[in-house]
């Protein structure tokens, strides 16, 4: 045991030890991709990363403007059977190759994702092809999944994070299709299997779709396998363009009254730009400095200094129709207004005073380092490639983005902060117990109070 003092009660070391410097910066290592566009219009991208003997699969197809309840139920029943296979058979056949597939929906896309043993890639693609061309939406399974989806929506509606997000989306997007992203139980209950078959015929098509395969595979072989297995998946079908998202309209703070809440869910939306926009790198750095990572002003203020909250976080989210910066914190009910004061203060400070060079370098290193970390697993790489493809980008954009991050100056970041992080541009929603928080919130801003949706 140390003779200096008791462990655990140290205040300062007898001899300070210096922080070791970082080693030479490793150049960003970007894996090579191989790509082929099939006659059907499907783009297939393969990246070899043989770290573990698995393969990751991501397939998305444009699905904007699809009727919400039908779209969600289609995602939930896409793997429920074909002419030749039941749902149980599909699941069992996938399991046999260590595989699994699942489908999900966002306002832009239908996404099928999964992973399996690399030796089972051909079989996984075959099953995928069979589902894409022959999903039959058996009435019995649709009925079960319909009820499960309704139950799932009920559970989601009991969660404050979901309720806050729902209110925020509606407030931000107004009449845009992004405004409502969860169907009503009643709408779901009304969906019949025939409607799913129709929607499938209209929208589940390869044109504009992107399939990403990452793992312990030989790229040319994987491209051939995909081409062969998805040969029968054809037809351009129906497409629907999304209108651009409307600009944010600041206004009164929207207070969603959830009586009995022991915390308030605070959400702020701010303007943002897409990945390719010249301001994007500077905006990302400004966002990090504000609240985008733990060592940000917002987290250090409302968590580490004041203890108002556990996990405040802000992030730039990209969708086809537009990008938005979202900041979220669950704060103790009694400090809801003070937490909003600090949030507005930190936004305003960054929008009006340039960051210090230490702050900027720290955020820059984090942005660059986590790019590399994010693509260092098969699953991370697959999701990254798939998301990039969603913005029309390929991995070769990554070094360019890194270069933009590397050269953004403090002035660039200050300018981006003034443009995008100004509190005057924020849309603010708070979900909480109005009886306990509305009076103090009203001292800060005009308030519209609405009841929590039932």
């Amino acid at each position: 045991m140390s003779a200096r003092s008791e462990p655990g009660l140290l205040t300062a070391p007898a001899t300070p030890r210096p922080l070791p410097p970082l080693g030479p910066t490793r150049r960003l290592k970007v894996p090579r991709q191989t790509e082929r566009t099939l006659d059907s219009g499907l783009t297939v991208i393969v990246v070899r990363r043989p770290a573990v003997p698995l393969v990751e699969l991501r397939l998305w197809m444009p699905f904007g403007q699809a009727q919400l309840a039908r779209g969600h139920l289609l995602a939930q029943t896409l793997l429920s059977g074909t002419e030749t296979m039941s749902s149980v058979q599909i699941a069992a056949e996938l399991q046999r190759i260590g595989g699994g597939l699942s489908a999900g929906l966002d306002p832009d896309r239908l996404m099928i994702s999964g992973a399996g043993l690399a030796t089972g890639l051909d079989r996984m693609l075959e099953i995928l092809g069979e589902v894409l061309t022959g999903a039959s939406y058996p009435a019995k399974w649709v009925a079960v999944e319909r009820d499960r989806l309704v139950d799932g929506i009920q559970v989601a509606r009991s969660q404050p994070a979901h309720l806050a997000r729902t209110a925020l989306l509606k407030r931000i997007y107004g009449r845009h299709p992004y405004a409502v992203q969860t169907p009503n139980p009643e709408q779901v209950s009304a969906v019949r299997p025939a409607a799913l078959r129709t929607l499938h015929a209209q929208r589940v098509h390869p044109a504009g779709a992107v399939l990403v395969l990452v793992g312990d595979v030989r790229p040319e072989r994987a491209l051939d396998a995909a081409e062969k297995a998805l040969d029968g998946w054809n037809g351009a079908g129906h497409t629907a363009d999304l209108p651009p998202a409307p600009p944010l309209e600041p206004g009164p703070l929207l207070l969603v009254d959830r009586p009995g809440s022991v915390q308030s869910s605070m959400r702020l939306a701010l303007p943002a730009v897409p990945r390719t926009h010249p301001d994007h790198a500077a905006l990302q750095l400004a966002n990090l400095i504000f609240g985008g990572y733990f060592s940000s002003r917002w987290v250090e203020n409302i968590r580490e200094d004041k203890g108002y909250t556990y996990g405040p976080h802000s992030v730039v989210q990209h969708s086809v129709a537009g990008s938005v910066l979202l900041a979220a914190a669950e704060v103790a009910t009694e400090v809801t207004a003070p937490a909003l004061v600090e949030t507005t203060y930190e936004l305003g400070r960054l929008a009006t005073v340039p960051p210090t060079s230490e702050e900027l370098e720290q955020a820059r290193q984090y942005a660059l380092g986590t790019l590399q970390l994010g693509i260092s697993t098969q699953a991370g790489l697959a999701s990254f490639v798939s998301a990039y493809a969603g913005s029309g980008l390929r991995l070769d954009f990554l070094p360019e983005y890194a270069a933009r991050l590397a050269k953004a100056s403090a002035a660039d970041v200050a300018e981006a902060a003034a443009r995008y992080l100004a509190p005057s541009r924020a849309v603010t929603v708070v979900l909480g117990d109005a009886e306990r928080i509305s009076a103090s919130l009203a001292t800060l801003a005009p308030i519209d109070t609405v009841p929590v949706p039932s």
């Binding site: 045991m1 140390s2 008791e6 462990p7 009660l9 070391p13 300070p16 030890r17 070791p20 970082l22 080693g23 490793r26 290592k29 770290a51 573990v52 003997p53 698995l54 749902s87 149980v88 058979q89 599909i90 699941a91 996938l94 399991q95 046999r96 260590g98 595989g99 399996g116 043993l117 030796t119 399974w141 499960r148 139950d151 009920q154 509606r157 009991s158 969660q159 994070a161 809440s261 915390q263 990572y293 733990f294 060592s295 968590r303 580490e304 200094d305 203890g307 909250t309 556990y310 669950e330 103790a332 370098e361 290193q365 380092g369 986590t370 590399q372 970390l373 260092s376 697993t377 098969q378």
Partner: protein
Amino acid sequence: MPTRRARIPATRYPVERFTLDNGLRVVLIPDRSAPVIGVAVVYDVGIRSEPEGRSGFAHLFEHLMFQGSENLEKLAHFRHVQGAGGTFNGSTHLDYTDYFETLPSNALERALFLEADRMRGPRLTEENLRNQVDVVKEEIRVNVLNRPYGGFPWLTLPPVLFDTFPNAHDGYGSFGDLESATVADAADFFRHYYASGNAVLAVSGDIDTAEAVTLIERHFGDVPARPAPTRPDFAEPDLRAERRTSYTDQLAPLPAVASAWRVPDPVDDFAAYLPYVVLAEVLTDGDASRLVERLVHRDRAVTSVGGYLGFMGDPFDVRDPTALLLQSHLPPGGDIDKVLRTVDEELDRLATDGLTDGELARTQARMATHLLRETDAVLGRALKMAVLEQQRGEPGLLGELPRLVGEVTDEQVRAAAATLRPERRASVEVIAGGAR
């Protein structure tokens, strides 16, 4: 004709182990395929070791380990990791507490410095303690009090299955216990449990082994030697009669139920334990599994069912006593008795008739994928191997798991199913207080 089974592949990460003079055990897992590293320090103390009247203390103390140390001011740890392009966290489990970073590989020495510095001693101050008590209370509100099914079943089932404080109590802690924690408690806790002899350091990824050894000796070599405390025996007898309890969750819109059965000692009797890990997957992994097919699709008695080993869900990082859990969410007005009866029926059927052709092999193939996928992340390897070293002295087990899972036999799974009798079962039922 029996179905051909997929060959279960393996990965062989080379593993180096050594122990410093101060008792710190070290595991190195080099892999130069990406320029990133994972660093994990695991201390052999968890929720089960916190004293009565100090529920939640192991977790609160984990927070305090981030509040500055010998050479580091408050906030410095976060800034140094993230300013090197890395990410960090810590987590508190039943039997251990881990601290970890993922970083670009040029930050290896910095990460070692940061971990060694807090192993020598965190800065425990009244101000930091009060601040982190507030933060932890908000964490509990987010994860337990302000959401439906908060703490279900990991906090609500142990007190049904177990009788002693270490195994049964709420690991997040009561607000009263958290608020009464003192700096002196924290200093004692550190002195007792955060000893070099009670810790394992694991480093994985883009490292040169010889260089890593030199750096580890440089930074950890003079951490004062303190021996590991004797680990108390947390054993409890198995149940001899069914236990069942219920509570109303005011936010929950639908009923739910979870059951637990004791299983063999995961460390001392691994061969007997492993079939239970496979059994949980046979029962609940995907649409082709027994309970999903029966309860979700045929009977429509539940909207979801899941099965797993250990209250915190990782079968290979927990010691005895532990359990196999099954949990279900029910549709509105669902019949919990019927669900429990059907589970018994399916377990009987499995124990009596055995598995169908190919059922075991496909489940094992899927489990192999899950295991391999977890080890693909550089940090996943460091964390899991650190715990395997700590609890078993066998970090290389991680690479063996897909094969060992694949060697479990039909007969072993049947025998495991046969032990999950209603009289050995503890269940907790969530009454949907938020049903509309």
